[in-house]
């Protein structure tokens, strides 16, 4: 069937659907524009941002980053396993991915609660506007990532459905979520 022939041809260029890569590019551009806005306003009110940033705990940021990097590693192993037909292992790794993502989510929610209790809410000052916005929109992408991993698991579960392309597409999306977090982490937690 032409559908699969074309799909095979595409696999040679990039892993997963090229369409997903287009989406990744677009989302990265949009996030970059958010980062540029953040940096712009940061240079204008340097003092304010520095002081506000002191309220953020770098250790939590590092822990979050480790979580997501681990999840990326898990999803990469999932793709590897699926390529070699080791579907049991692939499924385990997929669940591991979701697990690490979930740990990240819980940690983030706890961090938000802590910040709000300390008085640093969404409307507290400019820095925290950006902080809550960037971390929330990233978390939304993470939640979408859970749905994507759900699709991946669904694909892996049934021998009839297994589409390597879809598994790789899902992994691409998940890596993007991780990649965006690293950028957010650097901007919000590290750059002082």
């Amino acid at each position: 069937m032409t559908q699969t022939a074309r799909a095979d041809a595409r696999v040679r260029f990039v892993p997963g659907q090229p369409d997903m890569w287009a989406f990744v590019l677009f989302e990265t551009l949009v996030f970059t524009s958010y980062f540029v806005v953040y940096l712009l306003f940061r240079t204008q009110h340097h003092e304010l941002y520095l002081r506000a940033q002191a309220g953020l705990d770098l250790q939590i940021g590092v822990f979050n980053t480790i979580c997501l990097l681990s999840s990326s590693w898990a999803v990469a192993r999932c793709v590897q396993a699926s390529r070699h037909g080791a579907y049991r292992s692939a499924l385990t790794n997929a669940f591991l991915t979701v697990f690490f993502g979930f740990v990240f989510l819980v940690s983030k929610v706890l961090e938000w609660a802590r910040q709000i209790r300390m008085g640093n809410g969404f409307t507290a000052n400019e820095f925290f506007q950006h902080y809550f916005f960037l971390t929330s929109i990233h978390c939304l992408h993470l939640l979408i990532g859970f749905v994507v991993m759900g699709v991946v698991v669904y694909q892996l579960l049934s021998p009839k459905r297994r589409s390597q392309e879809l598994v790789e597409t899902g992994a691409t999306y998940w890596h993007t979520v991780d990649f965006l977090w690293v950028l957010i982490f650097s901007l919000l937690y590290v750059v002082r």
């Binding site: 369409d19 287009a22 400019e126 916005f133």
Partner: protein, 251 residues
């Protein structure tokens, strides 16, 4: 030239689809003139304006508002063919008709709170320049917040279209456009802080909540108008996968 046009109107089997497509294009032109050029409602006015400022904004844009929105009151019906065409595109897909009907209903109801309310309220605001400034500001807020802040319809509507495209086996739209619908849906989330802030990048006229969102929306709209055109050219009135664009029409 005009006789060819008339021949197409009479005999082209796709004339209904072309009617809907052209209605969409014409509507967006009217919309641009009315909102961006005449009434200066886009880019939006400043939410940080006080009551006096709001009253002055009405005065400055008095005729632009009244004329611009009169045009909208005339042509808003043209959103129906656009929604019908997109619903039709989902009927052409290999999925349940419920997707198309959902989209049709969602977007049909969206125009009243999401656009017409602003047009009506700003018209009322401009109607009596001697109204109390506090009342003018109340109308000002109601107009802009209802327009910018009617999010749910477009959020869910875009997700419906996205799902339809991703599940579709008839290749009516490329998958990347399905993902672009997700981007458009997310702009409705990004705009939500506009309900909280009076100034800054998250206000209804802010760099992030309006300008960047508008770029995404503009790209999205340009893309789907083009893809709808390609769909009509490719349409074979069958139920299987849609054929590719013929070579000559691809450019």
């Amino acid at each position: 030239m005009s006789s060819r046009f008339i021949w197409h109107c009479r005999n082209n089997p796709k004339r209904e689809l072309w009617f809907a497509w052209w209605a969409t294009v014409v509507f967006y032109n009217f919309f641009t003139v009315s909102f961006f050029i005449l009434s200066h409602t886009q880019p939006p006015a400043n939410p940080a304006l006080d009551a006096q400022g709001a009253a002055q904004w009405f005065e400055k844009n008095h005729y632009g508002i009244l004329l611009g929105f009169a045009i909208m009151f005339l042509v808003t019906g043209m959103t129906a063919p656009q929604n019908a065409l997109i619903a039709y595109s989902m009927r052409r897909m290999s999925i349940t008709p419920a997707f198309g009907y959902s989209y049709l209903v969602l977007y049909s109801l969206s125009a009243v709170p999401g656009m017409l309310l602003l047009c009506i309220v700003l018209t009322v605001g401009a109607l009596r320049p001697d109204r109390k400034p506090e009342l003018q500001q109340w109308l000002f807020d109601l107009a802009f917040l209802s327009y910018v802040g009617t999010m749910g319809v477009f959020l869910i509507g875009s997700l419906v279209w996205m799902l339809a495209i991703l599940i579709d086996k008839n290749r009516v739209f490329p998958k990347w456009f399905g993902y672009l619908n997700l981007c458009n849906a997310l702009t409705e989330v990004v705009v939500s802080p506009a309900w909280i802030f009076h100034n800054g990048v998250f206000a209804w006229n802010g760099l992030i909540a309006w300008w960047i969102d508008m770029v995404v929306f503009g790209v999205y709209t340009g893309v789907f108008i083009t893809l709808l055109r390609q769909m009509i050219i490719r349409e074979d009135f069958g139920t299987g996968p849609l054929p590719d664009l013929p070579r000559e029409a691809a450019s």
